[in-house]
Symmetry: C2
Subunit: 223 residues, 2 copies
DNA sequence: GATTAATTTAAACAAACGTTTAGTTTTGCA
DNA sequence: TGCAAAACTAAACGTTTGTTTAAATTAATC
């Protein structure tokens, strides 16, 4: 009886709002973006925010819920496909780097939200979406420990913090990064050259950090 | 002729505003804190913001300029006092950890500002205050390379990013950290226990990352 | 103690904010 | 084609925003 009549072949206003919100909130912060600015950038009437999401905050929450990357599935695929523990760690680094560089303004926004003492429900939403990923990574590190390749005395949690921290520091603060690297254009942090460099650094550092000294001696006997 | 008459023995209104601004802006973000809320928290009349700083933004800028830690001097003292390259790196890690944990809401604010595409002048102000520090750290790493203790093929800039990234990730997002560590109280990230743990992790990781394999063999011949 | 400048106050300012309204257009199905 | 639900619009809503005002208070100098 109350069947909603759906338009066909129409620019999706709702989707346009979500997309624009992700971009602008990421660039400027939630409070700094007015509903008028947002609606104009999305080429949509202001009232559509209330129509589809109830409020500006509703739009924010919906954006987090719907656009949050389903990374845990990809992580579990790594578990099946890749070889030894290091290959899995290596694949995790690649996966996260691609994800975060691929949608950097969303990730800026998400991690800025975690640094704020506003909107605890949003923080909870984000954290519950992330924490499953940690568990998968932990099992990979433990796997390497059990096979004897990785050191026994690794601080697994803080190692995870180092991988994410390195990536976020460089991707979420492009102005910091280009200053550190002596580059001119902020687009550099999205380049393939930088991606390759960052992957190499992270993997080199993690190799040295995770593998036992015995493993290195075994692998490079005549260097 | 235009000698300003200064009050004596008065609660410093100006200082109170700077202190409160640092706290509230760090916790909630610049735009999310209203002048009324700020003035009330500082127990000061709203008009005092314009009186001392011209505007809310003027207060923000003055806060960055005046409260920005003069770390480079401490870093140079390390250069004089400590022994070999590793001792200096180790001292740098200690120094930064103490600084950042000691005034975490200010550092939250500073690095949040770097992730935003608002107020480029503020970004410039912050970056020019930081970049001198990088140079000092770079010389320490190069020192270790020249003495033959550190690897030759280290990505020095991204290594700096890893150290800062790890610290900021953990300190600027306490909710993320306690979730990762399975702790209950956010105050844990300010505890001595956590400080010790983080120092150990960073130094372990950096040792493995920086030192040559030859160095480890030399140091631990019978393990 | 009078004077003058520095500081503080409460009240008011216009502009911008998020949201709502009431009405119009578009759509899908009969 | 007619009609009701859905989608959209322009205008207005009451608040809150950052800032200013003009007057009152406090402090330092003579």
């Amino acid at each position: 009886m109350f069947v909603k009549k759906k338009k066909i072949e129409t620019v999706d206003t709702r989707e346009q709002l979500l997309k624009t919100a992700s971009k602008l909130f990421g660039e400027k912060g939630f409070e700094a973006v007015s509903t008028r600015e947002l609606a104009k950038a999305a080429d949509v009437n202001i009232a559509m925010i209330a129509y589809y999401f109830g409020s500006k905050e509703g739009l924010f929450k919906a954006m987090i819920e719907e656009r949050f990357p389903k990374t845990v599935t990809h992580l579990r695929n790594i578990q099946k496909n890749e070889g030894n523990a290091w290959d899995k760690i290596s694949a995790v680094i690649d996966l996260y780097l691609e994800k975060i560089i691929g949608d950097s303004s969303f990730h800026k926004l998400v991690f800025r939200e975690l640094s704020l003492e506003q909107r605890p429900e949003h923080r909870e939403l984000i954290l519950s979406g992330i924490e499953k990923n940690w568990e998968v990574i932990k099992t990979y590190i433990r796997e390497g420990q059990e096979s004897g390749d990785f050191k026994e005395n690794i601080d697994i949690e803080l190692t995870i913090a180092s991988v994410f921290g390195t990536i976020f520091q460089l991707i979420n603060m492009p102005c910091w990064t280009i200053r550190l690297l002596g580059e001119k254009d902020e687009k550099f942090v999205k380049s393939e050259a930088f991606k390759t460099r960052l992957k190499k650094h992270l993997k080199d550092m993690m190799k040295a950090h995770l593998f036992t000294e015995q493993y290195f001696e075994k692998m490079t006997p005549s260097v």
